[in-house]
Amino acid sequence: MVPEIGHFALALALALALVQSVLPIAGASRRNAVWMKSAQATAIGQVLFVAIAFAALMQAFIVSDFTVRNVVENSHSLKPMLYKVAGTWGSHEGSLLLWILILAVFGAGVAWFGSNIPAETKARTLSVQAWISVGFLSFLLLTSNPFERVFPPPLDGNDLNPLLQDMGLAMHPPLLYFGYVGFSIVFSFAVAALLEGRVDPAWARWVRPWTLAAWVSLTAGIALGSWWAYYELGWGGWWFWDPVENVSFMPWLLGTALLHSAIVTEKRDAFKSWTILLAILTFSLSLLGTFIVRSGLLTSVHAFAVDPERGLYILGLLAVSIGGSLALYAWRAPEMEPGGLFRPISREAGLLVNNLILAAATGTVLFGTLYPLILEAITGDKISVGPPFFNAAFIPMMLALVVFMGLGPFLSWKRADIAGLLDRIRFVVVLAFIAALAAWYLLNGGPIMAYLAILGAAWLLFATLREWALRIRLFEVPLAESARRARNLPRASHGMTLAHAGVAVLMMGMIGSTGWKSEEIVFAAPGTEVTIAGFDITFEGATQVQGPNYIADRGTLVVRRDGELVTTLFPERRYYPVAESQTTESAIRSTLAGDLYTSIATPASDQVNNAGAWTLRILYEPLVNLIWIGSILLVIGGCLSLSDRRLRVGAPRRAKQPASDAVPAE
């Protein structure tokens, strides 16, 4: 019964979306206030019905209703409750339902909180958002109904892929989707602006909180996915340039560019058509990601089960939404008047360079990701593009970006004073070079690129702190006066400082864990000793242990330094009988200085056939935790900026409430 209610709720949501896609926009062109107002009710109704459908599916997972095909294929009665719940979005159908739920949440968010947006803009925006809803709801109902029943019902389910039975990954899709799909409302705003033919600073201000909310979630989602890959896959890497990782990274890069160019549109009424284009392209890349993950177009370890019919349907959706919006852009954008003028050395120019580099980086990742497909189509050759390409092409661009990232905040709008600028950064440049040279002296060895990166990261960190110190006149005036100034500074400014510093911290982690990683792979019998990065590790043997829905081989590794016991690590190799697959549970000793990372595998080589020998993989990754700390700083920075008062201008009644509440967390 409950699954049928869910199915029916989806159909109702589609009906509402159909109404919303026509009525408000027609009202906007006929100046019919009632028709425009209808979007308010339909948007909120949509989110209600989709939420009912989502709850119905979740209920089926929680009670293990094996008459529902989706539950049979992705759950098992013995699975821990947390993963039963997470199983709701573990499959293609369920995750698509989550996708649509978030789409509806953002639409309802604008309907509910957008009281400062003019009625016509709001009506058009919500209609555009409903077009996307119609596309995806019909896709779900026609090709991938999550409530399909199965008869006769089996006694138990097939289990969720054990790799996905993990806390980090249970939370990863919701956050990632919140980011991905959050850009949909920015896209809708952009298309509405093109239809209206008007973009002004107010438009940029309405769009900014939604862009920021989506960007923050996407940042958190990507970081969480990367963290999961790091400790779950057992390779000790945190980024693999896999196509599925790349398609989540591209909207992030372009979304970052959008955040910055929207500032220029807001403050200086410039970059208008560029901001609109970025808004369209960012969501287009999110759609592209959805398409690639679900169509089997490229090879990846993460992709969903492949179905060409679904692929064709999504491609159709892409053709209409991306093709349509870009055609509209080609038609209307040239008519937009250019805004404020600026000198080559100014805040605007700095942000322009930032945007160009980010866009070029996105293009590089896009090209690298799709190159195998393009090459196969033209010549028939099959290749894969891996880290060497991306590292060679991407890292130099990011280093250039970092230089401008440090510089940008010092520049003033319109025209910056070069002499004053040089005076203010002189000290920072010297400090950054000292830091890089000190690293070179202390570490001797490691790739030359790593030292350039250290120089860049040190420059960014010191420049960001220096700029913040200048703003609050730290050490120039009494501390109490500085503290008062810090309190009076807009929160967006603190947010920027935190986020930029977060990037510097993140870079340090990346440099340390790639440039100075040590790795040992040994075939070890009990009693084997391994020495790595000053640790002496003794393998004491492995025992078999029984988990709720798996059996594991658990190794015992005693870690000593200079004869003193540091810790004991228990890496596991788990076998899930129902799903017939294995996972690696690495054991990690985490400190700020670095991670001692161990994982165990059964021997699969002819060199060791003697019983009791295991393959041990032991890594030392210096500073790797700074990656996660830096990501957290980015997220906090984004949230701080989101709570800035400026974003709530025009909605004084809500002035006490932080704007982060603007997104209901259903």
């Binding site: 058509s273 284009l277 369209i280 392209l281 287009s284 398409f291 169509s295 089997g296 177009l297 490229l298 090879t299 060409p308 692929g311 064709l312 491609l315 892409l318 053709a319 991306i322 093709g323 870009l326 055609a327 852009y329 080609a330 954008a333 040239p334 799709l370 195998p372 497909l373 393009i374 196969e376 189509a377 099959k382 021997p603 699969a604 080589s605 002819d606 056939n609």
Partner: protein, 188 residues
């Protein structure tokens, strides 16, 4: 000029779209690794028998001049999937009359002997490739791999990974039938 620049993103999107449409062709499998050996003569090799086993060794000349195409399977006792595949291949030999030759890849002879004694030996001939040299000649990407070779010594088909599970067995059966590797009137 301005119009042209504004139209560029649209044009780029259309070009990408055409590639995507091509990529959705259901016959295209991006995971498939094309073998350079298909329709090429099998590489020359001459392997000694596995010591301690009565089955004779294997050379390229054994694959040539047979009435029907034959199957060459690369296996090892240390390879877990091979164990599962062994039962499938044995069934093909016993029920369908498939002719099976083995290359024992980088395996200790005593382990290989024990493995075959435990599970049974469906192979007509087995060459011991202790150094892995012949594996390289055949372009192995892993163990197990299975090839169908016709009477001229031409490689007709390559299967990477174990022939286990309904899909794999179906694909393999199709390949055997197409190559004419099964005698007429065999079971099923």
């Amino acid at each position: 000029m301005k119009r042209l620049i504004a139209g560029l993103p649209f044009i780029a999107a259309v070009i990408f779209g055409v590639f995507f449409l091509w990529g959705l062709n259901p016959d295209r499998d991006p995971n498939e690794i094309p073998s350079v050996l298909i329709s090429q003569p099998a590489p020359a090799f001459d392997l000694d028998p596995v010591p301690g086993l009565e089955t004779p060794g294997l050379a390229r000349s054994d694959l040539v001049g047979n009435e029907r195409p034959v199957v060459v399977n690369v296996f090892a006792s240390w390879c877990v999937p091979c164990r599962a595949e062994h039962a499938v291949l044995t069934r093909f030999v016993e029920r369908e009359g498939m002719r099976l030759f083995g290359i024992n890849y980088k395996d200790k002879p005593e382990d290989a002997v024990k493995w075959l004694n435990d599970l049974g030996n469906p192979y007509e001939r087995i060459g011991s490739d202790l150094s892995g040299r012949t594996g390289i000649e055949w372009g192995l990407s892993g163990v197990p791999e299975t090839f169908i070779v016709d009477g001229d010594g031409t490689v007709l088909f390559r299967y990477v990974g174990p022939v286990v599970g309904p899909d794999a067995v179906e694909r393999f059966t199709q390949a055997l039938k197409q190559a004419g590797a099964l005698p007429k009137g065999a079971a099923s």
